[in-house]
């Protein structure tokens, strides 16, 4: 009886523990890397550590995400018809990626219109229930800008190559970009969908001088968290005060186990096919 009991306790603990390990834990040895091409009019090839990784990468396109072990990678951009990375148009630059983190490398113009590259770390920490995160990055050949939502500046004085983030109630934001201190849009207004539990990254890219300023959008999910609780009664009309044995201390672990067990059952079923 003692043995059975302790085995049961151990199983309960294991189930409860397994249930609270985040789903992404299995891949936390890797870093996620996406690549945005934000240099207008210049298709390129992307080389990582000397190997062609993205062929004929077009401006305005987003590549990835790549799952890469943590470490330092050398990235070079060449003309799209290059045969190797010996004559890069940008780089090689070293990108240091930390396992478990999420990055976007952006090839873009600096404020003066020269090609540049930047490695941004995406904030994928959990968002509150009902909210999503909006990150705005200025990677355009343009002076400081304000980001306006509903006519009000929600981000002020953002300069190339900086970023700002806001957690917002999930929904659609009508956003426009204006030169800092002004309200005349140079981009937009555009509807930006901030989905619950997702990171939406909006890039202002292109060149003010060339008249090709535009928005690029990237979304990353997995930031979702559940609400704080479920309060579903206020009158006490069906109370069970005094009826012993209802409160079931292992309840949370049991539920977690059922849901987790379901995952394994599904995997097994797929493997059998």
């Amino acid at each position: 009886m003692r043995k059975t009991l302790s085995a049961g306790v151990a199983l309960g603990a294991a189930v409860a523990f397994a249930a609270f390990v985040p789903a992404s834990a299995a891949t936390s040895d890797d870093a996620d890397l996406a690549v945005l091409h934000a240099i207008p009019d210049t298709p390129v090839d992307v080389y990582v550590d000397g190997k062609l990784t993205i062929d004929d990468f077009q401006p305005g396109d987003l590549g990835g995400p790549l799952q890469l072990p943590g470490g330092t990678y050398s990235v070079a951009l060449t003309a799209a018809d290059a045969t190797d990375d010996s004559a890069p148009v940008l780089g090689p630059i070293d990108l240091t990626l930390e396992a478990g983190k999420n990055y976007t490398a952006v090839a873009h113009l600096d404020a003066a219109g020269q090609p540049a590259a930047n490695l941004f770390t995406n904030d994928t920490s959990k968002t509150a229930a009902g909210e999503g995160r909006l990150t705005v990055r200025h990677v355009a050949a343009a002076p400081a800008v304000d980001v306006l939502a509903g006519g009000e500046a929600v981000i002020s004085g953002l300069e190339n190559p900086n970023e700002e983030s806001l957690d917002l109630p999930a929904g659609t934001v009508s956003a426009s970009v204006a030169l800092a201190g002004t309200t005349d849009p140079v981009i937009g207004p555009a509807d930006v969908d901030v989905a619950e539990g997702e990171l939406t990254v909006v890039y202002a890219w292109g060149s003010a001088e060339a008249g090709n300023l535009a928005l690029a959008t990237q979304t990353i999910d997995g930031l979702h968290s559940g609400p704080g609780g479920v309060n579903t009664g206020s009158a006490g009309l069906v109370a069970e005060n005094g009826t012993n044995g209802w409160v079931f201390a292992g309840g949370a672990a049991l539920i977690a186990g059922l849901l987790a067990g379901g995952v394994y059952a599904t995997r097994a079923a797929k493997a059998r096919r």
Binding site: D55, T83, A129, G197, T217, H224, G233, A235, V238, G251
Partner: protein, 213 residues
């Protein structure tokens, strides 16, 4: 074992195809022999060794999922309307005021999503509106069928696996409100002891059911 063989072969071939550089066929260069020496080989444009998905960085239009509109638990005679709800100011799940209406957590998954747990909850009672249909939830048994009907008329049947009392503070919200794992349904209300001071029940009553098919 035989059934496993074919996919394995296909997979291996695909991996080979993905890993091997595609040789450029150039008859004039004598590719591969290196012995002719008279014609300088045209350098081949390399191809990537890995296939990286590339797409325009434009907003992805979200397909709105059909919202659940009705919750039925025939074994208990429960048949109630469902409306979409979100989060209230304190961070808890919003619950329709009347116990006769259930709320579907619209920031979670819907029955038509291919993974995760759909969450539907209702007040067990209310001082003004009385006792709600989910007062019977505690009587549900494993095997009872729960049917959720969407706004577009599509019905999804779930088979009850458990009904559990959980102290409200211990509700495993991140497991319950998950977007991953098998297609499950959680129906939640309150039960257990009632505290007259705080006007709250001690527990959540949680029914867990698995999508049939």
């Amino acid at each position: 074992m035989r059934r496993l063989l074919l996919p394995t072969v296909v997979l291996t071939v695909m991996m080979l195809a993905a890993c091997a550089p595609v040789p450029e066929a150039d008859p004039s260069s004598g590719t591969g022999t290196g012995a002719t020496g008279t014609v300088s080989p045209t350098p081949a444009t390399p191809t990537p060794e890995v296939s990286v998905p590339v797409a325009p960085a434009t907003p992805v239009a979200l397909d709105p999922v059909p919202a659940p509109e009705r919750l039925r638990l025939d074994a208990l005679g429960v048949d109630m309307p469902v409306e979409p709800v979100g989060v209230q100011a304190g961070g808890e799940m919003q619950i329709p005021e009347r116990p006769s209406t259930a709320g579907w957590y619209r920031f979670g998954v819907a029955p038509t999503d291919d993974a995760g747990t759909t969450v539907i909850a209702a007040h067990v009672d209310d001082r003004e509106f009385g006792i709600g249909p989910l007062a019977k939830l505690r009587e549900a048994r494993a095997g009872d069928v729960v049917t959720v009907t969407d706004a577009d008329g599509a019905a999804t049947d779930y088979v009850t696996e458990s009904v559990t009392y959980i102290p409200r503070a211990e509700l495993p919200v991140d497991r319950l409100f998950t977007r991953d794992g098998p297609r499950m349904l959680a129906v939640i209300t309150c039960g257990g002891d009632f505290d007259q001071q705080t006007r709250t029940y001690s527990d959540n009553v949680v029914l867990i059911a698995r999508a049939r098919s």
